[in-house]
Symmetry: D3
């Protein structure tokens, strides 16, 4: 299905095993998603991607974890990434996103898309007051 093959025994490669171990420990789960299983075809790409995701999403920061996942869903929707919408909606729910919050997230995403297309479709210039 993918354009690369997920290694059959990825953890035979110590670099892959180290990443998988870190995912399990960081997230406190045994579930290793397909993104990691397929990225194992290139350990360097796997390492860099996980380091990025961990640093931004799995580290204490000024935004709370639920908000971060909802922003992730918003971007993934606009970029039409089905896998990402699935995985980060699941993550947002795991962080406590309620059905009402989910519905509102979709409302905002779809409203933004609507006005994005109005502004671009009419080529309306940015107000000077917004450029300060």
């Amino acid at each position: 299905m993918a354009t690369v093959s997920a290694p059959q025994t990825p953890e035979n490669d110590p670099r892959v095993k180290a990443v998988f171990d870190d995912i399990r420990q960081t997230r406190n789960t045994d579930f290793i998603g397909n993104i990691w299983r397929y990225l194992a075809f290139d350990p360097a790409l796997l390492e860099r991607t996980w380091q990025d995701v961990k640093a931004v999403m799995a580290t204490e920061s000024v935004l709370d974890a639920k908000t971060k996942e909802m922003i992730y869903v918003a971007v993934s929707t606009a970029n039409a990434c089905g896998y990402c919408v699935h995985s980060h909606t699941a993550a947002a729910k795991a962080q406590g996103m309620t059905d009402a919050e989910h519905a509102e997230l979709i409302q905002i995403i779809s409203l933004a898309a609507r006005t994005n297309h109005i502004l671009t479709g009419l080529q309306i210039p940015v107000d000077e007051q917004l450029q300060a």
Copy 2:
């Protein structure tokens, strides 16, 4: 600059005036942005757009106003709408978004874009566990 002309005296039209009055009252400001000034070329389009924005963004709801504006910025960035990025970043700041939160918002947006492209570029299938 735009593909339509903003009416010179938009509030001569009572439907436009009603919308502008509602914007001023709802937002407690005299500033009427270009989006509304240009949409005044078609009062029905203006009314519908403002009703939508007001209902979703200017009404008490389960998400706080700052979070809503940050999600709006995220979608607008992925859809490459410069006007929208400007106006909703300004709105998020008006709702209290700090520089640190802004930087983190950009981090999440750009990380999401990165993994969006990895997943799509490799056509990695969605895990069954994520499809429940």
Copy 3:
């Protein structure tokens, strides 16, 4: 401004001159837009692009010229191409698009964007009835 330089005297090149002549004759105007002036940096790219545009947009076909230009505006908006929105909105107006039609075009574009993001944001599966 562009990433290539528009030739100063493009029609010194006979291939460029032939295309410019054909544009003037086909459209019955002396106006040669920037797209053609810049594409003249590579006559083969200029020729192929004009042949495509002429064959699809300037040839009698099953759809009328105004509808064709409105569809062009719709795609260009979704792809965030400011130049294309400008040039094809102007072309649609030249083909008779009224302000009311323009407003409705923007309504449809922005509604479509809204539901596009709802469907993608929720990953709703296609109905079997729609797949026949």
Copy 4:
């Protein structure tokens, strides 16, 4: 498959039933597509979405119904929404779109995408004549 569950007996909720009844009556069909069945997870989101779609697409207006659906397909294609391409292509056909018109629609969409990328890829500036 979706990230929300479609309610098993959606019409037990009177708000959902009212929307479904209106869809059946407006479209003169018993078919309720998945978009509505899944949106029923949040009646307010369902109501707003249907009101928007009905107001723009199922109401007499200056553009004919077939043209409106073809514009919808164009935007949905550029936004890569498979569900929307399916449902609005079916709607366009139901409104009389022929195979020849469908082929020409795809021609225009794909030509527009081609020149969209040329203009953006070269960053060609908008002609002053197009900005009046």
Copy 5:
């Protein structure tokens, strides 16, 4: 699955047969992909599409065939076209793209997406030095 039906015996149409013959000869294979089988619903669209693909991708030019296919994968990823990612990744591999090159391609695509979103998300102006 598609929104048009692939003809059952496409080569009964001499225009379709001519294109299929040319594909087989140009690519030295018996494999005719779905893109061509479905486009056969409209011979003119089929002809024009194949002529374009052949002229750009199957003709000696200044870039080598592997590089061309990798660029194609990059665009197709950003445009979220699953079919195109599959077919042009396969073509790049057929032209010699190694797993290491594939991994690097994905690295560049995803890094570009990341900085694309940073620049757009902050609306950073283009340097004068880059506009010469």
Copy 6:
């Protein structure tokens, strides 16, 4: 113009100075582009972005530097990032991209966009042969 202010004396911050020094040394130039000047508003975001760009684009790898920049231009075009198109086209030219190669790059990008939209617009299914 941007939504953040570029610090007036960015190199007073030792973290910013360290990044700027590394950019100058790595690229052997005194030119520090706006992306870095504006990202200096948040040193952590600046550091992470530069580390990523340096690791992928300024490090010896299996693809040559010119090819890497051309792939970057392709993605940036599809994502409609004007700044990125400018900066990476300039970088590709600095790495030796000729006008003929540039024209061919644009040809491939625009052809890919064309077939991307055909495949998505018709929802053509991926061949089984391409999914192995």
